[in-house]
């Protein structure tokens, strides 16, 4: 046996150890400063005067109505977007029709429109000085500065989330399973509920999760269309702004901490979904 001449065990497709170490350290430091610090700051500021003061913030009528409104808005906007997402994915992936690519672009449009511009567009459509708005007001249907407007604005900014998750997954799965089910005599709805839905359920959950996080946190579009009527059209993010501008820092950060907790729960569920059901989620994801 010749003596061991172990010179290097490093793979040729990686960077030198020193470079790797420096890069990892830099990345971790930047992540700590850019991502973790703001997150910690939310909780630190909320607890600046102790737990009692922080919890007291939730006792105020304003905070409670904001929480309630946020929950109700999400409870309406998210399912509607899920219905939209499912319908859009079904139409787009199961049928060939003219203008499909253009339609997909339109569905993606809200990603590249400023939330404030979205709010503005809704105000222009439904506001009193448009003909539609005037008619609505005459018939006692208030949309701008009212609950329906907030729902619409929330739907606008979260619009593509569910559809974006479902379309790639359904394209990958093809049409064969549904067609087989039809040949076996199943009705259309039965095919949907027993074949399609089980196949897309994790992707659907994933999309709903992201949609919900964004819905509960939407600020710009809601700020424009809600009119910020205290106790009436103030969602949690709007209430945070009001508290903050009134120098009620602990109250603002306590509400913010609640939303941050929601974000953490969302991230945890999302990661869990990705690790356990990676194969059933879309291959590429970007939001």
């Amino acid at each position: 046996m010749s003596d061991i001449t172990l010179i290097r065990a490093e793979s040729v497709t990686t960077e030198p150890r020193l470079v790797r170490g420096v890069v990892i350290a830099t990345v971790l430091a930047l992540i700590a400063v850019l991502l973790f610090a703001p997150l910690i700051a939310v909780f630190a500021e909320a607890l600046r005067q102790g737990w009692a003061a922080s919890l007291e913030a939730f006792a105020s009528a304003d905070a409670q109505s904001a929480i309630r409104l946020t929950l109700i808005v999400a409870a309406i906007a998210v399912p509607l977007n899920a219905v939209f997402g499912i319908a859009a994915a079904w139409a787009i992936t199961k049928f060939d029709f003219r203008g499909k690519a253009f339609l997909i672009t339109l569905i993606d449009l809200p990603f590249s429109v400023s939330p404030v511009v979205a709010g503005l567009a809704l105000v222009l459509l439904f506001g009193v000085n448009s003909s539609l708005g005037a008619w609505l007001v005459a018939n006692d249907l208030k949309i701008v500065f009212a609950f329906p407007g907030i729902v619409l604005a929330t739907m606008f900014v979260t619009f593509p989330f569910v559809a974006r998750e479902l379309i790639p997954v359904m394209i990958e799965q093809g049409r064969a399973e549904e067609e087989v089910a039809l040949t076996l005599g199943a009705s259309g709805w039965r095919v949907f509920f027993t074949v399609t839905l089980p196949n897309i359920r994790w992707a659907l959950l994933y999309g709903v999760l992201l949609c919900n996080a964004r819905a509960m946190g939407e600020f710009g579009a809601v700020a424009v269309i809600s009119g910020k009527i205290r106790g009436e059209t103030t969602t949690m993010p709007i209430m945070i702004e009001m508290f903050y501008n009134e120098y009620l820092s602990v109250a603002a950060f306590s509400l913010a901490a609640l939303l941050a907790l929601l974000a953490l729960v969302t991230l945890t569920l999302k990661s869990a979904l990705e690790w356990r059901h990676a194969d059933l989620l879309a291959a590429t994801r970007r939001h």
Partner: protein, 239 residues
């Protein structure tokens, strides 16, 4: 260049890919590493090319210890089964890559690079495809470009890992002969991996039969046919 493999072993964790093996490859020979899947052919080739480093043992090039030599310093022209062409570069840029990657002092002038690339494209009998991108070529053309790219660095040896494995039978036969001709013209010590015994027997000067990380037999094709060293060799080469 004369290559000597001395008691070379390679482990991946607890997996023994190569038991200590020894082999001498005469200068200018065309050698086939033949064996079933998982027998360690690729591992041995990658160790020669400097893509993998042995757990123990030595590699000698022309009598000099080359075990710790980095891939870049080895100047081994390496050809992969799936071509590994640079998709975002034209054929010309692919072939010129190794020359342009050199340090400024050793880099040929652009005119010289152009001359050399064109000469190589002539050698692989594809003189007019310099401006194309790899996705505009057939599999056989891609593999020939990969060969030209490996030759461009004026390698000290040529290492090919199942170079024809991804091609259909007809193209395979053509390229086999092509490889033999290019080998004869350049005189480069050439090692190619295959699990197709007909391919090995047809063009190699020496065939190395491997099984389960060990070398079973080394010999000229006719010798191996006539006097298989073991049952395994006989079974594997008679098919």
């Amino acid at each position: 260049m004369h290559i000597e493999i001395d008691e070379l072993a390679k482990e991946f964790g607890t997996e023994r890919a190569l038991h200590p093996v020894s082999l001498a490859i005469p200068s200018g020979a065309l050698i086939a590493l033949l064996g079933p899947s998982g027998s360690g052919k690729t591992t041995l080739l990658r160790v020669l090319g400097g893509l993998e480093f042995p757990t123990s043992g030595r590699v000698l090039f022309d009598g000099q210890d080359a075990t710790g030599l980095s891939v870049q310093e080895r100047r081994a022209g390496f050809v992969f089964q799936h071509y590994a062409l640079f998709k975002h570069m034209t054929v010309f840029e692919n072939v010129a890559y190794g020359l342009r990657a050199r340090k400024r002092r050793e880099r040929p002038t652009e005119a010289e690079i152009g001359r050399r690339v064109n000469r190589l494209l002539d050698l692989i009998q594809l003189p007019d495809i310099g401006a194309r991108y790899p996705n505009q070529l057939s599999g056989g053309q891609r593999q020939r470009v990969a060969l030209a790219r490996a030759l461009a660095i004026e390698p000290r040896m040529l290492l090919l890992d199942e170079p024809f494995g991804a091609l259909d039978a007809k193209v395979r036969k053509e390229l086999r002969q092509g490889l033999r001709e290019i080998h004869d013209r350049t005189g480069l010590t050439t090692v190619f991996v295959t699990h197709d015994q007909a391919e090995a027997m047809e063009i190699a000067d020496l065939v190395v039969v491997m099984s389960m990380g060990r070398i079973e037999q080394v010999g000229k094709p006719a010798e191996i046919r006539a006097k298989p060293a073991s049952d395994f060799v006989r079974k594997f080469t008679e098919a």
